[in-house]
């Protein structure tokens, strides 16, 4: 199993990118009152048919040829089921895929959020030719940011690779997420 939700987000998003998605939307919602965490990763990649949807939940299925097991989705499914939630996959060939995992927030086995900013930096900087959108909500307060907002300022995708931009990106996500969680207004 992976250690925390941020690692699952990175892993599941990497599947989307391998499936040739040009756009990946990550939505993470936490509700303390509703005692839930919901994570979804939606892409416009190649998509899967109903047989493949079943197979990707099986650890002994993978599209890769380098090794014969694919653990990402089975890990996430197991983690969600361990804490009273579950995993759903909606997918259509040629359209894209949505992976949605739900967790009961107060469950002792619920994975911590982990380092979400590090995951986002790895995606935004590692895949400058794709568009990401990250939406985070905590008890109804929301924060959204995406590659498009950043490119609108930089005017050049290659600039996303500049170390000072990567470092800004990490601070930007970290401080906005922390602010939402602490409940302070800006």
């Amino acid at each position: 199993m992976l250690q925390d939700l941020s690692q699952y987000i990175l892993d599941i998003s990497e599947n989307s990118l391998k499936a040739e998605a040009s756009r990946v939307e990550i939505v993470l919602s936490e509700s303390t009152q509703g005692n839930g965490i919901e994570l979804s990763v939606s892409d416009n990649g190649t998509g899967m048919d109903s047989e493949q949807i079943l197979m990707v939940q099986d650890p002994f299925y993978t599209t890769r040829t380098e090794r014969r097991v694919g653990l990402g989705i089975p890990f996430l499914k197991q983690a969600a089921e361990l804490c009273g939630g579950g995993l759903d996959i909606y997918s259509q060939k040629g359209k894209g895929t949505i992976i949605r995992a739900v967790f009961r927030r107060n469950c002792i086995d619920c994975p911590p959020l982990g380092d979400i900013p590090a995951t986002l930096v790895a995606l935004f900087v590692g895949w400058t030719d794709r568009d990401f959108v990250f939406r985070y909500s905590f008890d109804g307060r929301e924060f959204t940011a995406g590659t498009e907002d950043i490119i609108a300022i930089l005017e050049d995708r290659d600039m996303l690779k500049a170390p000072e931009v990567a470092s800004w990106l990490g601070r930007f996500f970290r401080e906005n997420i922390d602010m939402l969680r602490s409940g302070r207004e800006c």
Binding site: L2, Q3, S6, Q7, L10, D11, E14, K18, R64, E66, R67, G70, L71, G72, F75, D115, A118, T119, V121, A122, V125, G126, W127, A145, D149, I150, I153, L154, D156, D158, M159, K161, A162, P163, E164, V165, A166, S167, W168, G170, R171, F172, R174, E175, N176, M179, C186
Partner: protein, 124 residues
């Protein structure tokens, strides 16, 4: 005084203040490639990438492209990091920890001296 949180406005400032952001272009420069499959992530590849970006920023190194790739089939040796200096062989480092990163960047990327004790492969 309340500290203002980092915003898109700060990015605008970074862009207007540095003239050489475009030297970060991916053509014609050295590359660092990090394996970011499930195996890499589980072994700490993302932390290695964070360390790489921090050190490049700290040292002001711009003529390198940091990229990620999926699993390449050497899962047991993750985290894997490839360094390709412009015009040189591809060197693969295995079992890379964040604390190894500074050495790899300083010795190999900057000074051209391969960090022999971490090498697990070489492609010419």
């Amino acid at each position: 005084m309340k500290k203002k949180i980092t915003s898109l406005e700060d990015l605008r400032k970074i862009k207007s203040e540095s003239k050489d952001l475009t030297s970060a272009r991916s053509g014609g420069k050295s590359r660092i490639i990090i394996g970011m499959g499930t195996c890499g992530i589980a072994a700490g590849a993302r932390e290695v990438m964070t360390a790489i970006l921090e050190i490049l920023d700290k040292k002001g190194i711009k003529d390198v492209a940091v990229e990620t790739t999926g699993c390449i089939g050497m899962c047991q040796k993750e985290p894997l990091v490839d360094v390709i200096r412009l015009g040189e062989s591809r060197i693969t480092y295995g079992y890379v920890a964040p604390e190894d990163v500074e050495r790899i960047i300083e010795d190999h990327l900057v000074n051209g001296k391969i960090v022999a004790d971490k090498v697990i492969g070489r492609t010419d």
